[in-house]
């Protein structure tokens, strides 16, 4: 049984008289990367603020490593490292001074640990420069160093890829996977981009308008709503083409949406293979369009499904 690092039950919050967080519950386990996916304004940052003690919840319970955040704040929060929105640091101090400041607030952190974490995020050369001279990428790395300094069980990152270039995003993704797989951390990441969650996370909670719509394995989600391919064929061969496609083992579904159009749920990497089969059987393929599912598509699908029920199973992240 995997350890539950973060457990949220029935979280609610009003702001400015309006209910912003209406009912949020989910668990995050050790060693997994958990995505918190929702469009802008869904309430991701507000939820995270409550998770790290910046804002108080109106109702609901948060347990970190089994300890109630509300009742035993210091003990619970000691297990958390976080970056909420941007990595905020003291710009008028050096990187090292920032880490020392943070170490004194956490307690029991040795000089060696600071050296170790600086090497870990590869900031050795700039660590004695003032933070105001740092690039965004360097600030991000110092922010991560600060978040990991005290060896937390749970790392919380709010939209960590905001403002990063593609190379930076790739680096971050590898880094996060390594933390979860090698160090056994639970990593909690919010994002409004499905593609990001798909690449980084094991499980995901989808949130819209302050409510959890769905919790489950990313794999299951992508299987259910994964990539689709639209085939255009000459109208009179629509039926035959659908039959051929449906017969392929890697095609889950093939629906003729209208004359000459067939929607396929299938892996986009196998388009060529499917195309060859069609052509060999005498179908004239007029066009192929790979459609990557977006968060908006997903939302539409999930919310129009009755009651927005859970998909897959919400059990511990099976790997």
């Amino acid at each position: 049984m995997t350890e539950t690092v973060l457990s949220i039950k029935g979280l609610r919050k009003q702001m400015g008289g309006k209910p912003i967080i209406k009912d949020i519950s989910f668990d995050v386990y050790a060693g997994e990367v958990f995505g918190f996916l929702g469009p802008n304004g869904a309430g991701k940052t507000t939820t995270i603020r409550m998770l790290v003690g910046l804002a108080s919840a109106d109702a609901g319970e948060i347990h970190i490593g089994g300890i109630s955040l509300h009742k035993h704040f210091p003990q619970a929060i000691a297990q958390v490292g976080c970056i909420v929105e941007n990595p905020e640091l003291y710009k008028f101090m050096t990187g090292r001074e920032n880490l020392e400041h943070f170490a004194r607030m956490s307690g029991g952190i040795s000089r060696e640990r600071i050296e170790e974490i600086v090497r870990f995020v590869d900031l050795q050369r700039a660590i004695d420069d003032k933070v105001k001279t740092y690039s965004l990428g360097m600030r991000q790395r110092l922010g991560i160093a600060q978040a990991l300094l005290h060896n937390p069980k749970l790392l919380i990152l709010d939209e960590p890829t905001n403002g990063l270039d593609p190379a930076g995003i790739r680096e971050l993704r590898q880094f996060i996977r390594r933390l979860a797989e090698e160090e056994g951390l639970a990593v909690f990441i919010s994002s409004h981009l499905l593609s990001e969650i798909e690449m980084m996370c094991d499980r995901v909670a989808i949130i819209g308008k302050g409510k959890v719509i769905s919790v489950g394995l990313v794999k299951d989600l992508m299987e259910q709503f994964g990539d689709q391919v639209e085939w255009s064929v000459s109208p009179e061969t629509t039926e035959a083409a659908s039959r051929i496609l449906r017969a392929l083992p890697f095609v889950e579904e093939a629906v003729a949406s209208k004359e000459g159009r067939i929607m396929c749920k299938m892996d986009t990497e196998r388009i060529a293979e499917a195309n060859r089969t069609l052509v060999l059987q005498g179908i004239a393929v007029l066009g192929i369009a790979a459609k990557t599912v977006t968060l908006e598509d997903l939302f539409l699908a999930l919310t129009t499904e009755e009651g927005g029920a859970e998909h897959g199973h919400a059990g511990p992240g099976a790997k």
């Binding site: 603020r49 003690g53 929060i77 905020e88 640091l89 008028f92 101090m93 400041h101 607030m105």
Partner: protein
């Protein structure tokens, strides 16, 4: 996680933000200016007397007073007061101190008399105004509040640091005032007697309890009062820093309060309840020197009480708001 670690953090931040350096610079620039102004006024006074023979002048004064004492129609307490005045003047003669040309301690005394109600509070405002609000405006409050430290402890570490630097500021004011002015006026006069012990009864100055105090003791009392005023103004500014996120707004609020206090005091107000405002009660050293207070019913204990109540109330508000408030954006 101990309080000492937290205070160390706050101290490093104040020093790195160069707040204390700015204050020292302000003092190091203003004190020489005041020293020069004082020096000019001494020169002018001497010119007006024709000669610069202050000894003859003082001798004449003593003789005059003694003549008055000889006449028996004087009330007893007034007689006592005059006797002490004579003693004081005699001391000036015996120790070769020109009362018109003060030494460093006398300058430091005059400086605190002038600084206590506006200048000193203002530099304390510079020190305290963004102590809390800067953490909010720079977003670093998130670093402070997501660590295993209770919020009251975070705020206490900031307040303790403020008290530390407030005390240092008052101490540095005394040291710099004495050191810098001494270059021009010399460093003598620490034992010089200074009159104090005035009391206010029914809007009149009572001289019955007046006695002479060595100047160094008087200075200690005076700078002690200056310290108290600084702590109270610092505490109120601290509350403003919790309530108002922008340092500029906080600065504006405090400056407006202090300056209107100075104006109200000048107007010798007939608006009696103004005496409950903290800004009207800052001129504590006047009670030592025996100047009538701006509003009837004010006395040293009264002013100390008013200031204490304002300070305590500010702390309560600061803690209540800081502990409860959600951190958004």
């Amino acid at each position: 996680m101990g309080m000492l670690d937290l205070v160390q953090n706050e101290t490093i931040k104040i020093l790195r933000r160069r707040r204390f350096l700015v204050i020292l610079l302000i003092l190091a620039i203003l004190i020489p200016i005041f020293t020069y102004a004082q020096y000019r006024s001494v020169l002018t006074a001497q010119e007006q007397m024709g000669t610069s023979d202050w000894r003859a002048l003082l001798q004449q004064k003593i003789v005059d007073t003694q003549n008055r004492l000889a006449s028996s129609r004087l009330p007893e307490e007034w007689r006592e007061f005059l006797k002490i005045t004579v003693q004081q003047q005699q001391y000036y003669l015996d120790h070769d101190i020109n009362p018109m040309a003060p030494g460093a301690p006398t300058f430091a005394r005059g400086f605190m008399d002038q600084a206590i109600s506006l200048f000193l509070p203002m530099i304390i405002v510079v020190l305290a105004v963004d102590l809390v609000s800067a953490e909010f405006s720079e977003g670093t409050i998130k670093l402070l509040l997501t660590r295993p430290v209770r919020r009251w402890k975070v705020l206490t570490s900031k307040y303790v640091t403020l008290l530390l630097f407030t005390s240092l500021t008052v101490l540095m004011t005394l040291i710099l005032a004495a050191l810098i002015s001494g270059v021009v006026f010399g460093y003598a006069g620490w034992d010089m007697p200074v009159l104090t012990g005035f009391e206010i009864a029914g809007g009149e100055l009572e001289t019955a309890g007046v006695f002479a105090l060595p100047q160094w003791k008087y200075l200690l009392m005076q700078y002690g009062l200056g310290w108290f005023v600084s702590v109270v103004v610092g505490t109120i500014t601290f509350m403003v820093s919790v309530l108002v996120r922008s340092a500029a707004a906080g600065m504006g609020i405090m400056m407006a309060a202090l300056i209107s206090g100075a104006i109200l005091t000048q107007m010798a107000s007939s608006w009696e309840s103004a005496k409950y405002l903290f800004v009207v009660n800052l001129q504590l050293t006047d009670y030592l020197a025996g100047t009538l207070p701006p509003i009837k019913g004010m006395s040293l204990p009264f002013s100390l009480t008013v200031l204490t109540v304002w300070g305590a109330a500010s702390l309560v508000v600061a803690y209540a708001v800081f502990i409860k408030r959600d951190v958004t954006s």
